[in-house]
Each structure stands twice: as structure tokens, then as C-alpha cells.
């Protein structure tokens, strides 16, 4: 038979194995909904409206005087910073002897649609910082902000420099015009006033859409193929399901905050030009004179390095460090790479500046 179709038998075997894995997957892996993302134990040290200030229980004795307050992003939830014991940002810092607090923004509902930058920065963050200062008997805290939390932390540090000892900005959204990601492109074309006026808070479904177009084939198809191919690998499956669950749980963003975010940072690009107003006060990045550590990732497809790096050059600090890591947005904070490279470096940097 000359026209016989020649198919590598190994390909056929791979195809059958893949199908078998898909059929057996439900028996082998837990239901994602039943996975508990809480890892390192914590106490809720302070709460206000829907936000909570988490104080993580340290397995080691506190070795550094200045507590660290982590300002988590507005998208998804804080669990990514404590996703698995061996990839936990929080646990690593605790093991290095830091006293770690983190702000959980909770789930804003319709009633919160008028919450804006002022409420978040001069209200919630400031109240959390005051609480930590009081509890730890210090005058200043170290602050780390991740992603959009990096922007909030930066604005806070510019408006309240006397309360911040060290600032760590991890993939912060700073210069919207330089952002080369798809998020930046969509944000620039959004009629945000109309959006907030009509639907109030930014619904999670809208966020999901925006993220779905970031790497549609790698994130939308390939990763699921890899999941079913690696169904026997317990560590892979556990890590995959935890990150998937985290990715699919994002709270709405309060309408007013979203409006100011899109207009002032992406469309008018006011923050980097020192022209943004929060609570009636001008936010000048020159007011940031404390030591600052800016961390960016080359492969960041959510906040491009070009969008974060201008912070390093815009602040008034003399003691400033910029690190560019060969990883991605999530890889920088929740991966073996971050445990081996990013966190030890951050720990050292903070150590030199926490006990002075």
C-alpha cells in the first residue's frame, strides 16, 4: 500500500497516554475549589471596613528592629506571596528574621464604589502603618509593594516619607506611557468615566478578560496541556492547582480607584511627572528620600520593566538600588528562582538598613 499514512507509533502512544491522563485526572487530583490557599499562620492585627492587616507568626526569633509592611496588589489576592512553603515570599522573610505584616484588601462590594486613592493611601495604608508603629514601638516601618501595590506604596512613601524607613517596589506600575504590555494598550483606549459611572466597581470578569489576552496560547492552552501531561507529578499538580486557584480569584476594584488609576497613571501619566494629586495633595516622587530598592523582571508581561524602572530615576533618594531579574511577574515573587536569588538579595539589603 503506497498511500498508507505513516504515523510514528510513539505519537499514537503519547496521544493515548494524554487521553488516559485526562480521564484519570479527576481521580488523581483534588477539586480546585477544596484547596486551601492559606499557608503560614497569621493573626489579624487590625481591620477596617473590608481590609485586614495580617501579622504572620514567625517560626524564628525576630532579628531586625524595623517591621516590614507588605502592600499587596489590587488584583487577585495576597496568597501568591505565600503560595507554597518552598516558594513562599513571606516564609522566606520570616526565616530571615523579619517581622512581616501584609495588607489584604478584602472584597469590595457595590457600597465601596466611591473608595479612591485617597481612601487607600491616606486612609487604609496610613492606619495600618500607625497600628504597626504603635504595636512594634517604632517610628517608621519598611514597606514593600507588589505590582499595583507597588504604586500604592510609592504614593504613600511620597506623601508620608516620615513614616517609611525603607521602600521596596516590586514590579510597580509607575510610568503608564512607557508600559509596553497589552494591559497598557487596552487601558489607553478605555472610556473609564463612562465605565465607572455605568457599572461602578470593575468586575472580576473584566479583569479575567484583560489577563486572558496577555499570553493567550501559553496561558490558555499550553499550560493545560502540560498539566494533563504531568498529572503523575504530585509537586507539579499541587503547584499548578494552587496558582490556578489564585489566578481565578480576583476581587472587584472600587470604581473611583480604578478611574483614577487608569486616567492618572495610564492615560495622563501624571505620577511619573509629579503631577498626580491624592487627597488634595501633590504626589512628588522627589519626596521619596528614604533608601529604595526597585525590583523588576525582564519577562514581565503584566507590568513591563520600562514602566517600573523610571521610579529608580525619579526619586529623591541617594541610597537607591535597581535590580533586573531574568524572570516574569509571578516568577519574581513565587518561584525557586525568587527563593534563590531575589529574596536573599532583598534580605541582605533590608538587613543593612533595618537596624540603623
Amino acid at each position: 500500500m503506497e498511500n498508507e499514512l505513516k504515523i510514528d507509533p510513539k505519537l499514537v502512544a503519547e496521544f493515548f497516554k494524554f487521553n488516559k491522563n485526562m480521564i484519570e485526572a479527576p481521580k488523581m487530583v483534588p477539586v480546585p475549589d477544596e484547596i486551601n490557599l492559606e499557608m503560614t499562620p497569621y493573626d489579624v492585627a487590625y481591620s477596617e471596613d473590608k481590609i485586614r492587616l495580617l501579622h504572620f507568626n514567625s517560626p524564628t526569633q525576630k532579628q531586625h528592629q524595623t517591621p516590614l509592611v507588605i502592600v499587596y496588589a489590587l488584583i487577585n489576592r495576597y496568597h501568591i506571596l505565600d503560595i507554597q512553603p518552598h516558594k513562599s515570599w513571606v516564609r522566606n522573610l520570616l526565616n530571615q528574621g523579619y517581622d512581616v505584616y501584609m495588607i489584604d484588601w478584602g472584597t469590595p462590594s457595590n457600597i465601596d464604589k466611591y473608595l479612591g486613592f485617597d481612601d487607600y493611601v491616606n486612609g487604609y495604608i496610613d492606619n495600618c502603618v500607625d497600628f504597626v508603629c504603635n504595636e512594634a514601638s517604632v517610628n517608621k516601618v519598611s514597606m514593600q509593594g507588589y505590582c499595583t501595590g507597588g504604586t500604592l506604596a510609592t504614593v504613600y512613601a511620597a506623601l508620608h516619607p516620615n513614616k517609611i524607613k525603607n521602600l521596596v517596589a516590586t514590579a510597580p506600575v509607575i510610568d503608564g506611557q512607557r508600559d509596553t504590555t497589552v494591559v497598557g494598550n487596552l487601558a489607553k483606549h478605555m472610556d473609564v468615566d463612562n465605565m465607572v459611572e455605568t457599572i461602578g466597581n470593575m468586575p472580576p470578569e473584566f479583569m479575567y478578560y484583560v489577563f486572558s489576552v496577555l499570553k493567550p496560547f501559553e496561558q490558555g492552552i499550553e499550560k493545560y496541556i502540560n498539566f494533563f501531561r504531568n498529572i503523575d507529578d504530585k509537586n507539579y499538580v499541587d503547584s499548578f492547582l494552587r496558582v490556578e486557584k489564585w489566578l481565578n480569584d480576583t476581587p472587584p476594584i472600587p470604581g473611583e480607584l480604578f478611574r483614577q488609576w487608569i486616567k492618572d497613571i495610564y492615560q495622563d501619566n501624571l505620577l511619573i511627572q509629579n503631577k498626580m494629586y491624592v487627597g488634595g495633595k501633590l504626589v512628588s516622587l522627589k519626596n521619596i528620600t528614604m533608601p529604595i530598592f526597585t525590583q523588576v523582571a525582564v519577562g514581565d508581561h503584566l507590568v513591563s520593566p520600562e514602566c517600573s524602572m523610571p521610579l529608580h530615576y525619579a526619586v529623591g533618594s541617594e541610597d537607591k538600588t535597581l535590580r533586573i531579574y531574568p524572570t516574569g511577574h509571578v516568577g519574581m515573587i513565587a518561584s525557586s528562582f525568587s527563593q534563590k536569588n531575589v529574596l536573599p538579595e532583598l534580605g541582605e539589603w533590608l538587613k543593612e538598613r533595618s537596624n540603623k
Binding site: L11, D49, D112, D119, H189, M190, P216, F217, I221
Partner: protein, 193 residues
Amino acid sequence: MAAQSDYKKSLEYYKHLSLFWTDIVYLMSSKPSALTSAGPMRKFAMQAKKLATEMIEANEDLTEFNTRLAEYYKQLSDTWIEAQKRVNKKITEIPQDMEHLEASKRVWIDMFENDFTQLFDSEKFGENFGKLISSELELSKHWNKMLSVLLETANIPTKNDIDEIYKELHSLRKRMSKLEKNGNQTKVKNNGK
């Protein structure tokens, strides 16, 4: 373009016709129906014109929405076709066996990823996407307004009423938080003395 203009003209005609009859019927019936001013029917009759107007305008916005949605899918499908062409060209160079399965998959993923990211990053996609969302919002607005008409007839708070309450609550929460903060600061100062 001519079809679009004809469509607009006929829409205008039907809009005028329907509003004319809504007004006339309202004028004819408003006096007798005033007897039922305590019930929902009179309120509804008074607002019926608003419903008709909203429905007609929603129809116009639906046309815009459909145009934008069609453009959105056209952009996706054009990009898909081009990416597939490039993959087809490249894939023939790779042997189709188990050893090269991963390489074939990589080519497919990378080429599609590259072409689609270029599309999503482009001005034309951003512009159409922005307008698509705006037209969806216009439809939502009509829907909200129509619902408000019905809610008002039953004396139930509308979205605007609730928004007013949210605004008031936000301002009260802010004031309370400020007062609490000032109170705490005064306490600390007094304790320090």
C-alpha cells in the same frame, strides 16, 4: 454607506411614529387614569414614553455594538489565518515524529502567541476594543434607565437613589475615620503629658 443611511432614516421614522402615538395615547388617557393615581398604572403611563425612547435608542446602540463586535471577531480571525499560514509553512520543515512533537508544538504556540500579542498591542485593536466596551456600556445604561422606570412605578429605589446613599455613606465613613484618628492622636498626646 447608503444602506446605513436608509436604515437610520427608517429608524428615525419609526421613532417619530412611535413617540407620536405614545404621546397621543398618554394625552387621551391621562385624565381618566388620574383616578388611579395611587396605583402603579398611572405612574407607569406617565413614564411609558421614556421606556419607548430608551428601547429605540438601545436599538441604535445595538447596531454600533454589533459593528464593533463583528470587527473584533474579524481581527481575531484574520490574525488566526495569518498565523496558521506561517505555522503551515514552518511545520513542513519539522519531521512529524515523537522526537519532534515538542518542537512542532513550540512553533505553533510561539507563532500564534507572537501574532496575537502584536494584534492586542496594536492601535486598531485597542481602539475597537475601547469602542466595543463603550457600546456595551451604552446598552447597560438603557437597560438601567428602563429598569428605573419600572422601579419608580413601584416606589422601589433606583440605581441613582442607591448611588446617592453609597456616596453619603462613603463620606460619613471618611469623616468618622478622621474623627477616630484625631481622637487617638489626642489620647496619645494626653498620655504623653
